[in-house]
Symmetry: C3
Subunit: 155 residues, 3 copies
């Protein structure tokens, strides 16, 4: 049996596990938000969904787009574009065994900026609040990527 059991003794890996899980859960919440707006506003993309919601009424009228639904979907796609690279680069960075304080700084800045990004997107707050939150999270990920390439480059 391999010694997976000792891996989580690493504080950096535990910190990574915690923050990566939090931002992934936040990203997953966007699916629920989309479903919520689709159902409450009766706005669907699939005919079979519209039929289930129309309950005998005219289902085709429910096949439309809605600004609230589209906003949540844009927020969700932005999460995919930013959270997924963070999770992947963050794991590789963790495997390079970085200093705990540096790692925590990167993970906390990214997680905080993404939570605020979602608030700024969904309320919405006037720009440049959302843009700023995006850039902060973006550079936290870039900084870990640079650290990886400086430490373990093998082409």
């Amino acid at each position: 049996m391999a010694n997976l059991s000792s891996l989580m003794d690493s504080e950096v890996l535990r910190a990574y596990a915690t923050y990566a899980t939090i931002v992934l859960l936040k990203m997953m919440l966007m699916s629920v938000a989309t479903a919520y707006f689709r159902i409450t506003k009766k706005v669907f993309a699939n005919p079979e969904d519209a039929r289930a919601a129309a309950k005998g009424g005219d289902a085709r009228k429910l096949l439309k787009t809605d600004e609230d639904v589209e906003r949540v979907r844009r927020c969700h796609l932005n999460d995919i574009e930013n959270v997924v690279p963070f999770v992947a680069i963050g794991l590789i960075y963790t495997l390079t065994n970085p200093d705990l304080a540096s790692a925590l700084l990167h993970f906390r800045i990214f997680t905080g900026s993404r939570l605020l990004h979602t608030v700024a997107y969904l309320l919405p707050l006037p720009q440049p609040s959302r843009g700023l939150m995006w850039i902060i999270g973006y550079f936290a990920t870039i900084s870990m990527a640079v650290s990886i390439l400086r430490g373990v480059l093998y082409l």
Copy 2:
């Protein structure tokens, strides 16, 4: 040389590797399905693709959307929104060295529900079949995330 060689002695890691690879391959199949429908139905998003398919005919007519293509694309995006969190959270969960039986249960429920979700989306089956398959997979991932946060929380 590091002891990567012994990692796959862990049955949980081997199970993770198997199920994660299966759902990722299934997700990748959606690209082929999109390409298949685009080519057979002659429906393209890029002018250079339309020109290649028009073979001297009017390429602009092929720049349109088609319900079959859009359905596969929605199914693909739904996979990205659900399979990617499963793969990431599933790996972190695996690294917390869970009980083999619990891990297999999570991996099998997620994988089974996603395969059925694709069937329900592409046929399509009437709702709530697709919605139910989505929720089952969603909660399998949430359950692993809760297990991670209870086990290794480090903020």
Copy 3:
């Protein structure tokens, strides 16, 4: 403390870390390209972005789609559909402790084909250049997935 410190002694893991980071950074560049085209061409999806760019002018006119922006977005989505499976399957493949030469071959072919895919998408080059680059990267990932399933299958 766990022995994360010795993991990066593995040359395969260092190669994976390098190539995965490169393709993830390339994928992240697509966000900057989208923002660049949105700002220089004044084409926005969110009313608050349009208001910030309109500077007192008619913000609603800036809420439109633009072919250059849509092309970058399609390229970005294609990256997500292909780079994310590579990063996930590539990591699992790395954990199966493959031969260094085979691993480097897979990583280099995928990375090279995706860089050329982006060039072919953004210029754009006539088909089938982009399609060919997509297929090469696709089969590099499939080949690693097959290697995983042959090596560690545990259902």
